[in-house]
């Protein structure tokens, strides 16, 4: 968010290679149903990628598999050149991945600022929490994020009292506050109006560079504002990758979405 924090952030973790994440042939099997089926994807440091696909394509499951919420039946997830497929969730997060959930995952009983403080805490080992006081750097970061997400005047309010869009923003703020190198944003604009949606797009574009960001969304105007490479998945498999314009013009992609739409009307 601020230049100084960014510099020290990159300074401490910059590796030789630019490859950050490699999802390598991951299959997730729910009792015979393959929500992910040999899916692969790579992501470079500081880049933005959009992931689309019809309902049930396996987008959320991909995030789950990366962060350890569900476990790959086969295949590997490589992050910063290390295999994280079987690490406990909190270990995966500590290595630099943080996720925004599809349904806002803020802590309703805690104040907005406490939500951010917990996310911003660098030392997440339990014994470090007995110390009173907060590092100045963490405080500054939280104040900075509060401004960015427009919740500075609601800092003391319980997160449960926020409007849906505000919760979405708070959770994006929390994910950013962790300083993770990879942010997974699952439908960050769900429940937002057009104005909020374009603000969110602008916010995400500002994050790119400091963080690699994987965004899942359906909203076409949002995708156009993000203007990033798009990966399309369908039935747990890779379908296409390209610019927003190329994907919009693609016949296979249209067929997948259209076929889905037809099915839906049949059901309806």
């Amino acid at each position: 968010m601020n230049a100084q924090a960014t510099a020290s952030h990159i300074g401490t973790t910059a590796p030789a290679s630019t490859l950050l994440l490699a999802v390598d042939g991951v299959t997730v099997d729910f009792d015979g149903f393959k929500a992910l089926n040999g899916f692969s994807l790579t992501l470079d440091r500081g880049t933005l990628r959009v992931l689309i696909g019809p309902n049930g394509a396996g987008k959320s499951t991909l995030c789950d598999a990366i962060i350890g919420r569900v476990r790959a039946t086969s295949g590997r997830v490589i992050f910063k050149d290390q295999d994280i497929t079987h690490l406990p969730e909190h270990e995966i997060v500590r290595r630099g991945i943080c996720r925004k959930f599809q349904t806002p995952g803020v802590l309703p009983g805690l104040s907005v600022v406490d939500n951010l403080m917990i996310a911003a805490k660098r030392d997440r080992r339990w014994w470090s929490t007995f110390r009173h006081g907060v590092a100045a750097e963490e405080k500054a970061r939280v104040a900075d994020i509060l401004e960015t997400i427009g919740l500075a005047d609601r800092a003391a309010a319980p997160a449960g009292h926020l409007a849906h869009g505000e919760k979405q923003w708070l959770e994006i703020g929390m994910v950013v506050a962790t300083r993770a190198d990879l942010l997974l944003l699952d439908e960050p604009t769900a429940g937002m109006g057009p104005a909020e949606t374009s603000q969110t797009a602008a916010l995400i574009r500002r994050l790119v560079g400091q963080h690699a960001v994987l965004v899942i969304d359906h909203d076409m105007s949002f995708l156009e504002q993000l203007d990033a490479r798009v990966t399309v998945m369908h039935q747990g498999q890779f379908l296409k990758e390209g610019s927003v314009a190329a994907i919009r013009a693609d016949a296979d992609v249209a067929a997948v979405y259209l076929g889905r739409a037809k099915e839906d009307t049949h059901h309806g």
Partner: protein, 370 residues
Amino acid sequence: MDMSMRKGTPLSGPLAGVTLGRPMALSLAVVALAALAPWLVSAYELNLLARFLAMALLAMGLVLVWGQGGVLSLGQGVFFGLGGYAIAMHMKLAALGDGDLPDFMVWSGLDALPWWWVPFKSPLVAILGVVLVPGVVAALFSWAVFRRRVGGVYFALITQALALAFATLLISQQPSTGGFNGLTDFQTVMGVDLGTPAAAHGLYWLTLALVVGVFVALRALMTSRYGTLLRAIRDGENRIRFLGYDPTPFKVVAFTIGAVLAGLAGALFTLHAGVVSPALVGVVPSIEMVIWVAVGGRNSLAGAIAGTLAVNLAKDGVSSAFPDLWLYALGLVFVLVVTLLPGGLAGLVADAGGTTWGRRLKTLIMGEAK
């Protein structure tokens, strides 16, 4: 946390950040009054009060475990019992000459002291045992359970099974535990005759001091980042996990502190009551302990103390007049609290702020709201 929202005089030095407002003044007045109790009430009443204050230590532990941590334990009686038996074993042994056995062992035909009794000859081991035995048992047990991500109702049921097993074990091992009658008939502890008024007063003040100390310490813990994280884990364990924290140790620490306080409560209770027995540690007493806290307010330390005193005073009254009615009365109170008063007495006080009279009362107690 909320102290700073109220009017008061900020202190400096090691107490910086603490505000000496009306709630603090009120607390000090209550403690001062409690300290004068030996001159204000009868010896019988003082003994009751001392027992109830000992139990309040356990209740405050449940605020941390259940209220803040969201972990319902129906097995606090086990830790209460471990503390009680640890001190009782020492007192049994201290009353004996060299090579003698406690009376009930002789009656059961034992000819040697069981090995696990031997260390409790030492007063130091007994005192350490009061906190370490429940603490270590709770830490190992809760770590094994929480790391498997067992929680909620399942955890409550496991702890209830633990209470049942513990009470059953104590009864079945009569020759070495005193069985159904437990351990009783002790006269002295650390060379002090428990029968004297001076000892009764001293033990009462010790208990009161521990209640005050634990209150202050737990409040500091609850307002630390540990406290924030514990509440966060209660409200969204997965969210916390996906922010890079391992919830297990946070819950283990809370549960262990709760057990240590239960052990301390059990030891003090045993000193005040002169007996510890399986009837005090099994399933029903463990559930009663949860009810004290439910009545007082599971997120309020002061509420937990008040709830413990209120329920036990009522128990003393009801069970001496109508012994058969107490369990029904308790069940009724529990149902009423859960359905009508989820915040307990503490919640009632907070809600009363909404009415005109309540607001006046609150202003009187808390000072002018900001």
